[in-house]
């Protein structure tokens, strides 16, 4: 859908950690203080709150109570890895309707063991997948990667080029957990996890939080002179659900892309923040968006420089593969990196021409198919 008067105003983050047992509310507080400091907003200016996490049984209204927010709008935004884009879309709907003018979209993960967390597997995965000793999402994406390699001749080196380029992008990103250079040989030599998926195809779970401020254009103009507009956004949920022989190497992103590119020209995107739980998922999304034919993702990757200095910059801060995955905050990382680039604040990994970014989110792997949710948005810097 075409958006006219909704803007991104700022973002806040915590450090990421593989060990910290900081509470989830503690993580939230750090990210919120960061965004309030950066934007000059007061807590009382915020009249909408969205919360995304799997690390607490408390839903958004209860989190709002604990953090002391009196609100006109509240949302529990759980769409798996698509939650970042999904929360932005829903907040934009509400802002356009006039329910609120400043929304704080919050997400985080914590290893605090004093709180019951990590929800049960959903029904189909509990009863018909986990019983076989599967290896979590790593195994389910491995099935898809094997099909892509088998059907289209995609090579490990082509998949690995995505991980290697993203690591290059992470080297100057202080938030990234992995900032050591990674070579193709390092990628190929990394330990097998679920063939053909290896260690450097997988994200590192970590603790941390992210937040985004979305506002009406009117409010945004009072708050910042770096106006970043939400241009368009779309999503597809349970693509091919009724197809018992689904095409596993095509995501719902194909249909999302058709909607997005009916509003924006494919060629006008300067940078790509593409949800990267696995490099193969990035490759498939590039195909789904029509930057090359289905199956030609490997050749596309060969022909382009995916680093922040390149002609097709992807996951310019390192993505989840190099930064880490703070649970469902993983999908917020891509929105925030897009915003950071468009605001010209990506020191050490800034894309030279950064006016328009495509940001995506994909969520969970379904029984026998591929993704549950696929969503995307385009943001644009206007003078």
């Amino acid at each position: 859908m075409r958006r006219k008067k909704v803007c991104f105003v700022g973002y806040g983050s915590t450090e990421y950690s593989r060990k910290s047992e900081e509470s989830l509310l503690g993580q939230y507080a750090i990210a919120i203080r960061d965004v309030l400091n950066k934007t000059g907003l007061k807590k009382k200016d915020i009249n909408g709150l969205s919360v995304t996490t799997q690390a607490s049984p408390d839903t958004a209204p209860h989190v709002a109570e604990q953090l002391g927010f009196e609100l006109d709008w509240v949302l529990n935004a759980d769409y798996g890895g698509a939650s970042g884009v999904g929360a932005v879309s829903r907040a934009a709907d509400a802002i356009e309707c006039g329910h609120l003018d400043i929304a704080l979209l919050l997400a985080g993960n914590s290893f605090d063991r004093s709180v019951a967390h990590q929800r049960q597997l959903e029904y189909q995965r509990g009863n018909f997948v986990d019983v076989y000793g599967y290896g979590g999402p790593n195994s389910l994406m491995a099935l898809i990667q094997r099909l892509h390699m088998e059907n289209f001749g995609t090579t490990l080196e082509q998949v690995g080029k995505i991980a290697v380029a993203q690591r290059f992008n992470a080297i100057n990103n202080p938030q990234a957990l992995f900032r050591e250079p990674m070579s193709m040989q390092d990628y190929l030599n990394s330990r097998m996890i679920s063939d053909p998926v290896r260690l450097f195809d997988c994200v590192m779970p970590c603790s941390g939080a992210e937040c985004i401020i979305l506002a009406s254009e009117e409010k945004a103009k009072q708050l910042t002179d770096k106006l970043v507009y939400l241009v368009t956004d779309a999503e597809k949920i349970h693509y091919q659900v009724a197809n018992m022989l689904p095409e596993k190497t095509t995501f719902g992103m194909k249909l999302v892309g058709e909607k997005i590119f009916s509003e924006v020209k494919r060629e006008d995107i300067d940078l790509f923040e593409i949800y990267d739980d696995y490099p193969i998922a990035v490759m498939i999304q590039i195909e789904d968006f029509g930057y090359c034919k289905k199956g030609d993702g490997g050749k596309f990757v060969d022909a382009h420089d995916l680093t922040y200095k390149g002609d097709f910059p992807v996951n310019t801060g390192g993505g989840e593969l190099s930064v880490g995955q703070a649970g469902l905050a993983g999908g917020f990382l891509h929105v925030i990196e897009g915003l950071r680039q468009l605001r010209g604040e990506a020191e050490g990994h800034q894309v030279a021409k950064a006016e328009r970014a495509l940001v995506t989110g994909i969520g969970w792997l379904n029984y026998g198919r591929n993704l549950g949710t696929t969503s995307a948005l385009v943001m644009e810097r206007r003078k």
Binding site: V131, Y132, G133, Y134, G135, R146, L147, D195, M244, G368
Partner: protein, 138 residues
């Protein structure tokens, strides 16, 4: 305390919708749902036809099919499966035309290739009332 107990292999939490499937498996039958209205065959078990929302009945599958994709799980999610790693986790296209998720067993499983024919084999779990349909190369 949950922490003190040795990990147990995962078992289905059988519910009214999928009970006929698990009853079937116990009797060495692989049951699929078929829509009474449009005839669509589906799996996993659902409350209604995933396509037209019609009511569904159960049919017996032949228990044969072919490998659609596979992976060797080196790190099972549930540590109780660790001893058996690598687990040959598979997608099978049943001859009835549905993709199912399962596990490949048998001495020759290392030879598996895409498209290989497979047939079902029922594995007794640690619960005497639950058998798990797995596959072996045909």
């Amino acid at each position: 305390m949950a922490e003190a107990r040795a990990p147990q292999k995962s078992l289905p939490k059988i519910n009214p919708v999928d009970r006929p499937f698990w009853e079937g498996a116990k009797n060495n039958k692989f049951l699929l749902q078929k829509c009474n209205s449009c005839g669509k065959v589906q799996f996993f078990p659902r409350i209604a036809c995933v396509d037209c929302f019609g009511e569904v009945s159960w049919i017996e599958a032949k228990g044969t099919g072919k490998i659609h994709s596979f992976t060797l799980v080196r790190v099972p999610r549930n540590p109780a499966f660790k001893e058996e790693a690598p687990i040959y986790y598979i997608n099978v296209i049943l001859d009835e035309g549905v993709i199912i998720e399962s596990r490949l067993l048998g001495d020759n499983k290392e030879k598996v290739k895409m498209g290989d024919r497979v047939k079902v084999r029922y594995e007794q779990t640690h619960n005497p009332d639950i058998k798990l349909p797995c596959f072996e190369l045909a």
